[in-house]
Every structure is written in C-alpha cells, then in structure tokens.
C-alpha cells in the first residue's frame, strides 16, 4: 500500500471504515505534500483575513446584539483551530528537515 502511491488515489488501501485515514502516502513526491500544505495554509490565511475583517466590523459597530460578523467571527474558529495545528506541524516538519 505504501509503495505504489504517486497520487492520493492509492490512499484507498490505507483505511476502511476510517474516513480519517485517507492519508497521503509516503512515496508520493514531497512536492505533493508541499502542495497540500500550501493549499491548507492558503485556506487558513483566507479564513484569518475574513475573521479579522469580521472582528473589525464588530469593533466599529460596537453593538451588543448578535450580528452576522460576530457569528462569523466565532464560526470561522471551527476551521481555523485545526488548520493552525496543521500549519504548526508543517513548520515543525520544515524545521526538523533543516536541522
């Protein structure tokens, strides 16, 4: 299962009833992992920008009622928190590869 992979397609062999396990396999060129990491980082950056904009508009309006911006500010954390963990792992992996 590990040796055949050049794309995610062979990931299939890794898991089963497990959705989590659709993991990219090792032999895939590092470029593939880099591209995926880059994409995740881009998604994270977009979410952080939107969160920042939403947060800024809450500060301007200073309304006590629940606004779309306030709700968006909180909802985006659902994506931001795990993506931040992935980003931290990518950075850690890069640091370890340099050392």
């Amino acid at each position: 299962m590990i040796s055949t992979v050049t794309t995610v397609s062979t990931v299939s062999t890794v898991s089963t009833v497990s959705t989590v396990a659709a993991v990219s396999t090792v032999t895939t060129a590092t470029s593939f992992a880099v591209e995926m990491g880059l994409l995740a980082t881009i998604i994270l950056i977009i979410m952080l920008i939107v969160k920042e904009l939403a947060g800024a508009s809450i500060a301007i309006s200073s309304a006590s009622e629940i606004t779309l911006q306030g709700a968006l500010d909180r909802a985006l954390n659902v994506g931001i928190i795990p993506l931040l963990i992935v980003f931290a792992c990518i950075v850690l992996e890069k640091v370890l590869s340099v050392l």
Partner: protein, 271 residues
Amino acid sequence: MGKHTLEKPQQITKEILKSKISGKHRIYLWLYFSAITAAELVTTCVNPIYGIACHGLLLFGLLLHAAMICRKEFNIMYLALALAPLIRIMGMSMPLVRISPVYWYLAISIPLFAATAFVVQLTGLKSRDIGLAVGNLPVQILVALIGVPLGLIEYTILKPAPLVVEMTWQQIWLPALILLICTGFLEELIFRGVIFRAVVETFGRSFAVLHTSFIFAALHIIHRSPVDLVFVFTVALFFSVVVNFSRSLLGVSLAHGLTNIGLYLIWPFIL
C-alpha cells in the same frame, strides 16, 4: 373567545412557515451532501489538490451559512456538518512523510478532536447529547463485538497490507490503541455524536440516520471500491440506529475500532 379565533390562523401560518423553512434546510442538507460527494470524486478521480480546494470552499460555505442563520438548531447543523470537509482537509494536508504509518491516524486526529471539541462547545451540546454515556453495558459490549466480523468482512473486501511487521503483543498494542481512539472513537464522535445529534434535533430520526450515513459513506469514495462503499453505508446505518436507541457511543466506537484493528492488525496475519 375573539382572541382565541384570531390566534388560530396565526398559529397555522406559523406552522406553514416553519415547515417551509424546514423543507428549505432539508434541501440545503442534500445539496451539501452532493457537494461533499462531488469534492470527494474530484479528490479521487481528478486531482487531490482541486479536491481539497473544493473541500476548503465547502468548509467556508458551511461556516458562512451557519453564521447567517439565527435559529440555533439550524446553526448547530451546519457547524456540525463543517466537520466533514475538515476530515478530508486534515487527512490530506497534515505533513506525514517523516512519520510512521502507525502514527498517521494519531497525527490527523489531533486537529480533528480540537475542531470537534470546539463545535461541541460553540453549539452548547451536552456530553449526554452526543452520546458520551455508558448506556446499557451488556448491550454496548454486544454491539462492540460486532466489530470482529465487520473487520473480517472488510478485510475480504479490501485486503490491505498490515500496519505492523508481525502480530506480537509488543507490536500491536500501540497501533491498536491508536486505531481504537483515533479512528473508532473520533469518527463515531463526529458522525454519530455531533452530526447525527445536530440533524436529529431538527429533522427527526429517520432523516438523520439516512443523511449521516450518506455523508459517512461519501467520505469513503476515496477508497475506490463500490463494494466497500455499500458495506460502509450499511455499517453506518446500523451504527446510527444503535446510537439512536442506546444514546451511547461506547458500543459503536468499540465496534468501529475493532473493525479497523482486525482489518490492519489481525486478519492480514491470520488469513
């Protein structure tokens, strides 16, 4: 008396409005299911990069949709559903090249546990709501034991290579624990715990059982096996029904974990 006669048409109007809104969200749920399926197909058949981009868009759309809705039950539903694209994004983007395959599941589960915990906290779901209860222990143990034959059936379908070199206790205990917690418990918590509970509160049991099982099966398209897809959908239906009646994730988590343990650590050495 006059007031009473005035209230009745208002109540009927409210009911009609409520059912219209409910019907609209029902359609949205199926549209999101179709979008998840499409993103999985792109990931599997076209290009994983495009697939993850689709999942990213879907995640953003679900979170935006959740933020735009004032009614709590619908808000919870979309937040919970956002965990589905997150699963795929985490699985694909986590840097795993230097890690042994045994620890992949552990690495991927950490951000997913964090996201799930945040959704639970944000939506105000109680631990009992999401099935974090022991329930009827003998029944839960019986359900858990079903994982053994399920693992065997799945092995005959997929025949994967084992995760460890040999079947010894020293080699197996840690991967088994990881599979139990990071696949069994985590996925049951996400699908039969959070997503199922969020949908059941709004649309009732039968719809929730069906919808959650479809989403769960859709996330297995990546394994490129139609037989496995049918198998996984059936298992998901069964697990959802069990959780619905027992209100506990214990049995199904153990069964799910045992299925994967059998598949990767036991059956490859026996058969």
